[in-house]
């Protein structure tokens, strides 16, 4: 049972690390905490579900591209202007939660069902030390870790990655040397939302998606990022895996009802005891 718990925890943590990564990318580059990305991601998951019978590849693409576009647009027309006028974190909290309301409402209004489950193809099963795990879950975990490595490589070795780093470290100088910082912000926001969408698609194919899942993913993503030290990607991943374990074991031991209670409780404790997160925050990628 312990092994089973660890494997479930790893997989949950792996999937959770996608929205965490989304939050970390957005906050790391733009300095704006966006609480709507979970809802936007789940909206993309619903879109994927809607087109799934048509063609799986296209359906996933539609969801991810849509989320990227939404992230790009809200940053461009709403969040960047507010931050230029000097908005603080509490204001962004209110604005992005309101945005979440809008997208939750859109989901309610557009899609015929409030709760869905994505039927993605299973890739057989794998046997690890006597425990049978679905291949698809392993794929989800590997995908999350792969995304992390790709983002890391992008920012180290490409020009666009360097301009992200520059923007996150010194916005004023980045503007002065000629980086289109507004575009960097918009792209970061788009990528964050797209990552949340991929997370939501995985979540929806392993568990299910409903109108509330977006809030859970968004807030969990944010608070896990906080626990890891917000903006610190490695800290975020590690704390995502730890939180996955916590969820998995508390689910086994106390039943599903207590899962999120324990999770939120731990997070509040961390906020109170170590406000900078367990690994400290660099506020950069």
């Amino acid at each position: 049972m312990i092994l089973n718990g660890i494997i479930t925890g790893l997989i949950m943590g792996g999937i959770l690390s996608l929205p965490v990564l989304g939050v970390a990318v957005i906050y790391g580059i733009t300095g704006i905490p966006n609480f709507a990305i979970g809802v936007i991601g789940v909206f993309g998951g619903f879109l994927t579900w809607y087109f799934l019978s048509f063609n799986m590849g296209i359906a996933i693409l539609v969801g991810v591209v849509f989320c990227f576009a939404i992230g790009y647009i809200i940053q461009r027309i709403l969040l960047t202007p507010i931050s230029e006028r000097g908005g603080d974190s509490t204001l962004f909290f209110i604005v992005t939660v309101s945005l979440g309301f809008v997208f939750e409402g859109l989901m309610r209004a557009i899609f015929p069902r409030p709760s869905i489950s994505l039927a993605l193809p299973r890739i057989g099963t794998i046997n690890i030390a006597g425990v049978t795990v679905e291949g698809f879950k392993i794929f989800a975990l590997l995908f999350a870790l792969g995304t992390l490595v790709i983002i890391r490589l992008l920012e180290e070795h490409t020009e666009i990655g360097k301009s992200w780093q520059a923007t996150s470290q010194n916005l004023k100088l980045a503007k002065l040397i000629g980086i289109k910082t507004n575009r960097v912000f918009s792209i970061a926001s788009g990528i964050g939302c797209a990552l949340a969408c991929v997370g939501a698609i995985f979540w929806g194919s392993l568990y299910n998606l409903n109108l509330m899942t977006g809030w859970d993913l968004g807030f969990l993503g944010f608070i896990i990022a906080v626990v890891g030290g917000i903006g610190n990607i490695w800290g975020g991943i590690i704390s995502a895996l730890i939180m996955g374990m916590v969820m998995s074991f508390s689910g086994y031991l106390l039943g599903g009802m207590w899962q999120s209670v324990i999770l939120y409780f731990i997070v509040i404790l961390v906020l109170i005891v170590a406000p900078k997160g367990i690994l400290g925050s660099e506020r950069s990628l």
Binding site: T90, L91, F93, S98, I223, Y264
Partner: protein
Amino acid sequence: MKGRYEKIGTILILLLPSLFVFKGGYLQEVTGYVYLFLIQGYVAWFLFFKSGQPFFGYSVTMAIGAYATIVLTEMFQWPLFVSIFIGAVLATVIAVIMFLSTSRARGFYVSMASFLLAILFPKLIEALQPITGGRSGLYFGGLTALVGYKTLYLLVIFLTAAIVAFFLWIMGTKTGRILTLISENDRLTQTVGLNTRKYKILAYSIAGFISGFGGALYVNYTGFISSVDIEVFTTLYIFFIPLIGGSKVFYGPVLGALFVILIPELLVPVERYLRIFFGLIFILVIVLLPEGLAPNIQKLLRKMNPKRA
């Protein structure tokens, strides 16, 4: 002087709907509901906007008051008024603990922690289903059974007016002025030599107690509470009451409560679009009218009535 007229006017307007009791029915029911949220709205107005404390746990303090009242009366057979009082005290304790435990953290993390508590609390209620009824909720006779619905309605109105009067009064006292000072510049207030911690604890205690009491009143009036009623959105709605109405004026929350509670009632036929509508309104108000509706309505009135201005 102008401030005094504004205060008296606010209280008088608040007392006016007691006349609805003659008409009864739907109008009375909705008005009572508006008033119960107005209490919470004024708590947010006092704690967040006037004292500058980044607290987002209004639904939690409210729910503690409500659940404590039910559980103590129904399960432990305590007298109703004692239960209400204990509920309000419990809410006070939670609010103060929340403040003390987060006082080391920086501003945004404090609001984050209290907001997470607001997310956690309904989940806790659901996990404790055997006691709290979880999603299916608890029914409660309480005061309605004791004094009847119409009397309770009048009671809600007068208590709300009294609570609002208390808040308006306290903002005019020395304590209120110090809280305003803290909200404007915390560090400066400290260097002047005032014990800001003491005043902040006082602010949290007042807010916690009244919010908890308001919650107890709420469950007496509605006769029912479940985890759905205290979802995290409740805390946001409460927070938006002073924000939308305008936090700078005394009657701002009244406008805000009308808006936040009445609009959904009017929009029942198109309920599926409610969230979209609300989200957009919130964003528009924050971006275009950062001071809320009230100052802009004043401006509009002045424009329409140039003679009086």
